[in-house]
């Protein structure tokens, strides 16, 4: 579908001319009336087959006097983005919810409500999503008149509003702290015996408001490093995606060599992430040999990236306009050597576990996600590809050096945990090949664009295929820093699909089902590991901690 075709179809469907329209790169920006949103969104999603990426709420009151909510769609096969933008009067901040039409819009709309205060009317699940339970009502942190360092008074008692368990079902909690979840997340499973009959989720415990920090304190290049720290596993994806969003908005031409270096780093990151996932998946089902062996293989990649970038994980390579470090000629044989080793050793592990019937017993027909559900929850990445939804932003919205490289996108139709495993295992070898191709064609020249000026009031959207699926950054530029920066990590849609994967499974399967989407909670919640200096530092003594812990034990609901 071309831009013109899309415009024609939208106009035809609406029966009247579109109020305002513009383009930014491969994004079509359409300003529409609030009352037209559900019908247009439904049409784009259901008839035109677009996928909802996320929504972005922006407080534009200083400039236009209104709030804006953009619904971002992707036409994956056409490399086309569509932004349906609605202006909302602050006097009556209500918008008709599209979640009844697009289930995948659930969290995104609740997030806009929490942070900007635009209430989605007729939303099926209007509970709080992002903000802490003790955060005061009517206090919306992403509004421009809200100071970034404001600390609301501490509430005395607050617990999450959770769904009521069905009769006769007992509640099993997975989280907020749980051995197989490396980050805080709170799943409540309603179980009868061992069978799960329902579930509820409360997350966003790691939400630290980095988007607010970005549009109040930092500057364009500082955000690159903040973005990298959104995730401890796919940090480079985030910094790269952010830079690409700014570069798209400012129309900065990145030198070819920088693009190739980004590609190499992205694929090395995918390699380490998939191996990490394989190990974790093994650990979750008690198979520690897989854990240790795949992490052993992964370790070589970590040491390699330390040689390339100066750090084993947070590479710190990106800046708006290019990369900071070159890959010197003398390192290339080393990279090739490690790749060869990783390839043969991964092959060995994959061959060993592929025929393991006990392993298959735990993974096959577990956590089934149908293609229809995958689409309606707008699931991305290996989770989508294991359910027969053939999307991959490297191919569908080519960026960096991917247009020059040849690769296949593994797709499976089974939709279970084993299929998700197979997709990732196949991708290991695709990634190894991609790094080799990129190294072979590495062009010369500079690694940083000459002009990296960012003009204000431009919109940019970038997607990068993270190991867990498509990661998306949206930037509306301002002076010195973005006016709005929105991050949508790949786990955001996947977690919304988790309840449908839990259906009819047992408690024993729950951890591996959660694990199978390769969840990254901090990504989803946009955590910042470094707190803004509060000036005050409270140090708890051992006794105080013990006391607090025991008070919690006694008052806790362990007997409930």
């Amino acid at each position: 579908m071309t831009r013109e075709e899309l415009t024609r179809k939208l106009t035809e469907h609406l029966g009247k001319a579109l109020p305002a329209m513009s383009t930014a790169g491969n994004m079509l920006l359409v300003k529409i009336k609030a009352e037209d949103l559900p019908t247009l969104a439904g049409y784009v999603f259901n008839q035109l087959g677009a996928r909802l990426i996320t929504t972005v709420g922006t407080d534009r009151t200083p400039l236009t006097g209104n709030y804006e909510v953009s619904y971002l769609f992707s036409f994956d096969r056409a490399d086309l983005f569509l932004s349906l933008k609605v202006e909302i009067d602050p006097a009556n901040p209500v918008i008709e919810s599209v979640t009844p039409v697009i289930p995948g819009a659930d969290w995104a709309e609740r997030e806009v409500r929490d942070l900007i205060g635009v209430v989605p009317k007729n939303h099926p699940d209007p509970r709080r999503l992002v903000l802490a339970d003790d955060w005061p009502e009517e206090l919306y942190p992403l509004r421009k008149d809200f100071p970034y360092d404001y600390k609301p008074p501490q509430a005395t008692v607050a617990g999450p509003r959770m769904k009521k368990a069905p009769e006769q079902a007992t509640v099993m909690t997975v989280g907020p702290f749980f051995p197989t979840l490396e980050e805080p997340a709170y799943f409540r499973l309603f179980v009868e015996g061992e069978r799960i009959v329902g579930s509820d989720y409360r997350g966003f415990y790691s939400h630290r408001g980095i988007e607010k920090l970005a549009d109040t304190v930092l500057d364009y290049n500082k955000i690159t490093f903040l973005a990298e720290r959104i995730c401890g596993i796919c940090g480079f994806v985030h910094s790269c995606c952010y830079c690409q969003a700014v570069e798209a908005a400012a129309e900065i031409e990145v030198p070819a060599r920088a693009k190739y270096i980004r590609t190499i780093m992205l694929e090395l990151e995918r390699l380490h992430s998939h191996l990490l996932w394989l190990g974790l998946a093994g650990h979750i089902i008690g198979f520690d040999t897989v854990l240790m062996q795949s992490w052993r293989i992964r370790e070589q990649l970590m040491w390699l990236t330390e040689q390339i970038t100066g750090n084993r994980k947070t590479y710190g390579m990106n800046l708006v306009g290019g990369v900071r470090r070159d890959i010197p000629e003398k390192l290339q044989p080393k990279i090739k050597e490690v790749l060869a080793k990783v390839e043969s050793e991964s092959r060995q592990v994959v061959e060993a576990i592929a025929g393991d019937t006990t392993l298959l017993m735990r993974l096959q027909n577990v956590g089934y996600l149908s293609a229809a559900d995958a689409r309606s929850f707008c699931v991305v990445g290996p989770t989508a590809r294991a359910s027969g939804v053939d999307i991959d932003s490297r191919r569908d919205h080519p960026y960096a050096a991917y247009p020059d490289l040849q690769f296949t996108v593994p797709v499976y139709n089974e939709g279970d945990t084993w299929a998700r495993t197979l997709v990732r295992l196949d991708e290991l070898f695709v990634s190894i090949d991609l790094v080799r191709q990129a190294l072979g064609r590495l062009p010369g020249g500079p690694i940083m664009a000459e002009n990296t000026e960012v003009p204000p009031e431009r919109e940019g959207l970038a997607v990068v295929e993270a190991p867990r699926g498509e990661c998306c950054h949206y930037v509306l530029t301002g002076t010195d820093r973005p006016e709005r920066w929105r991050v949508r990590a790949s786990t955001y849609p996947q977690l919304q699909a988790a309840p449908s994967m839990f259906a009819n499974q047992t408690v024993a399967d729950a951890p591996i089902i959660i694990g199978s989407i390769d969840p990254c909670f901090s990504c989803t919640e946009r955590m910042e590991t470094v707190d803004v200096e509060s000036g005050k530092l409270r140090v708890y003594t051992r006794e105080e901690l013990l006391k607090a812990g025991r008070a919690g034990c006694k008052g806790g609901d362990s007997r409930a």
Partner: protein
């Protein structure tokens, strides 16, 4: 199935033991590793470029009378090495030390104190002596001749006033 199990158990034969006897034997870092930031106080000229680019904003400049303090609190450091990139004097580098755990948060701070130069006109301290000397060195030999230009020792306010006077304007009001 049994072949599979057998293969799984035997992966270790080829791999051998890979974990290191850390912490008893330290692990060397790669070339260009970004570890603990080290500030060479003898080279720092107090220009504050590092403070402007630091993403976690942990480098601060505090002017107090005739001294300027460059404070680094690397308990919040993200080891991006942006400071090292931009430092004109190469006074900051990220070293090889990565074992930074401590029970004293003060161990993770560092302060460089620089003597401020006084304005040759009004006598107020306005910039680190070293910064002026370095700037002077860079400016000599070119269009400015062998001597550092005179205005280098004037504080910004005096410079403004002088300029205004030279242009025939009135004296800036806020300058006493």
């Amino acid at each position: 199935m049994f072949i599979s199990k057998w293969k799984e158990a035997l992966i270790c034969l080829k791999a051998g033991r890979v974990t290191l006897p850390y912490p008893f034997v330290p692990r060397p870092t790669a070339e260009g590793f970004r570890g603990q930031p080290e500030v060479d106080g003898r080279r720092c000229i107090g220009c504050g470029e590092c403070a402007t680019v630091c993403p976690p904003r942990l480098i601060t400049l505090v002017d107090d009378g005739d001294s300027r303090a460059l404070k680094v609190d690397y308990s919040r450091c993200t080891y991006c090495a942006r400071c090292a990139d931009v430092c004109p004097e190469k006074a900051i580098r990220l070293g090889n030390n990565y074992e930074l755990a401590t029970s004293q948060k003060e161990d993770l701070t560092m302060t460089v104190n620089l003597k401020m130069a006084n304005c040759s006109l009004c006598g107020k301290p306005f910039a680190p002596e070293r910064l002026l000397r370095k700037t002077g060195e860079k400016l000599t030999g070119g269009e400015f001749g062998q001597e550092a230009p005179e205005w280098l020792s004037w504080c910004p306010e005096c410079r403004k006033t002088k300029q205004a006077k030279a242009l025939g304007g009135v004296e800036a009001k806020d300058h006493v």
